[in-house]
């Protein structure tokens, strides 16, 4: 909790720090880390209901394309919200069809959804197809730090939603759904509705992150925006950081994405191997993620 506050504070003042010649690179890397951490926080929300989604890369991509396509007409903030809404609506439809499925089957359905979405965007005209889509910068380039602060704002929003949900009534329904669906129903929890509500909130945040990402990279391609790599990233980070927590995905995201940026400079695509190694080591030695290192602290389970 305190850690999360400190991290967000650092994010706010980072552009003002004397970073010298590394400033532009640092800000760019940090912005990317914030977006992916936000995506990981969003993914973790659904995980709290016991569902493993491989569609969050697709929600990110849908948000990115929707925001990119609508930004010239709507302006930056409404376009981002539209991106979130698009992702959210698609998650609602996907959820209605698949959230009655358990564990593995749901994961497979979300994987199929991702592939379908990528193919649709690839084959459509208005998305630029395989050629890709140029995107205008946030606020049409009026503020040099606009994109950076949008990423900070997104991370703050995701953190707050994550914290608020873990203190809400819904927290109990989500945890009960994850730990025993039949029992939860007999105790009065509408498990399908709980999953559906969580799914739409989670997808909205993922779509929002995608929109900010589009305005940062300035160019979208289906391979990048809908890559399975991002869906994997969205789940590796919370597992590494600590599932069902707020600080876990936040801290994990910043560490993993920083590491990824650094490794990309050194070994290019080889960073994926390091990813795999981190995942295996975490599951073996820190099954509850980084958060288990703080587990003795009171309340860390909900931090």
């Amino acid at each position: 909790m305190i850690l999360a506050g400190v991290l967000l504070l650092v994010a706010l003042v980072l552009p003002g720090l004397p970073l010298g010649q590394w400033r532009a690179f640092m800000l760019d890397a940090a912005q990317f880390a914030f977006l992916i951490s936000g995506l990981a926080l969003a993914w973790d929300l659904l995980a709290r209901t016991g569902q493993l989604s491989l569609a969050h890369g697709a929600f990110f991509g849908l948000g990115a394309y929707a925001a990119a396509l609508s930004a010239p007409a709507l302006g930056t903030i409404p376009a981002l919200l539209l991106g979130g809404a698009t992702a959210s609506l698609s998650s609602l439809l996907l959820g209605l069809a698949t959230l009655r499925l358990q564990g593995m089957y749901f994961a497979i359905a979300t994987l199929a959804f991702s592939e379908v979405m990528r193919t649709l965007v690839l084959k459509s005209q208005f998305t630029g197809g395989s050629i890709g889509l140029p995107v205008q910068p946030a606020f049409a380039g009026a503020y040099p730090l606009g994109g950076y602060y949008l990423a900070v704002a997104l991370l703050i929003i995701c953190t707050l939603v994550s914290l608020l949900l873990s203190r809400s009534r819904l927290h109990y329904a989500m945890a009960a759904t994850r730990q025993g669906e039949a029992v939860a129903r007999v105790l009065g929890v509408s498990v399908v509705r709980v999953k559906l509500v969580t799914f739409t909130i989670s997808a909205f945040l993922a779509g929002l992150a995608g929109g900010v990402y589009a305005m940062k990279t300035l160019f979208l391609s289906p391979y990048d925006a809908f890559g399975l790599g991002r869906a994997v990233e969205a789940l590796v980070i919370p597992i590494f950081g600590g599932l069902y927590t707020t600080t876990g995905p936040l801290l994990g995201g910043l560490i993993i994405v920083s590491l990824e940026t650094w490794l990309r400079l050194r070994i290019g695509e080889g960073y994926l191997v390091v990813y795999g190694v981190i995942l295996v080591l975490t599951i073996l030695f820190l099954p509850k993620g980084l958060m288990s290192l703080f587990a003795r602290q009171k309340g860390a389970r909900h931090a």
Partner: protein, 238 residues
Amino acid sequence: MLKVTGLTKRFGGVVAASKVNLEVHEGEILAVIGPNGAGKSTLLNLLSGLVRPDAGRIEFLGQDITHAAPEFRTWKGLGRAFQIVQPFPEMTVRENLMVGALYGKPGTSMPTAQKVVQQVIELTGLAAKADTEAGELTLLEDKRLELARALCTQPRLLLLDEVMAGLRPAEAMEAVELVKQIRASGVTVLFIEHLMPVVRALADRVVVMDYGEVIAAGGYVEVAANARVREAYLGRSA
């Protein structure tokens, strides 16, 4: 209060419930007994909505709930404790109870739920363990939690599925007192039980099942003397 007519459920070729007729009256404690495989647990699953019947009708408080979702039945006041205790292992006892208290009646606020939980914790003697993770409880504590969680949904009719199985006699008698207290607070109880001393101590009426059928119903003494019941338990004499 609860009226079951012609309730039937087949699993493949096995008839787990065959035209079961049953009535539970407000305020009573009704025991359902029968040999293993008689269909008692299936009956409870049908009543709480975890299993869908092939035929028949379930009426609760004058409303047809035959095809209602489990959570809807809970909202109406039909509570259920499981035979195999299934606490939410990563939650504390208090958090487990909060789930029932918050969602057992739609729209319950957090402060109200916390009050309900506190009352149930005191009633069921779980105060010392309230902030222990449910995964670390002993069997007796698990059973108490199971019962307490069902109570937190504030049921008008409570279904108990062998909640005393595996308890030592002294512990079982403690649980009997608890169930009596629950009834005294205005809750009707339907329970499944193997331990005959428990049945005798608790039940106002007994329903006996065998091969998915109700073969006898009445007071304990009357049912215990019934020839078909003796046959079902002891086997047919040559």
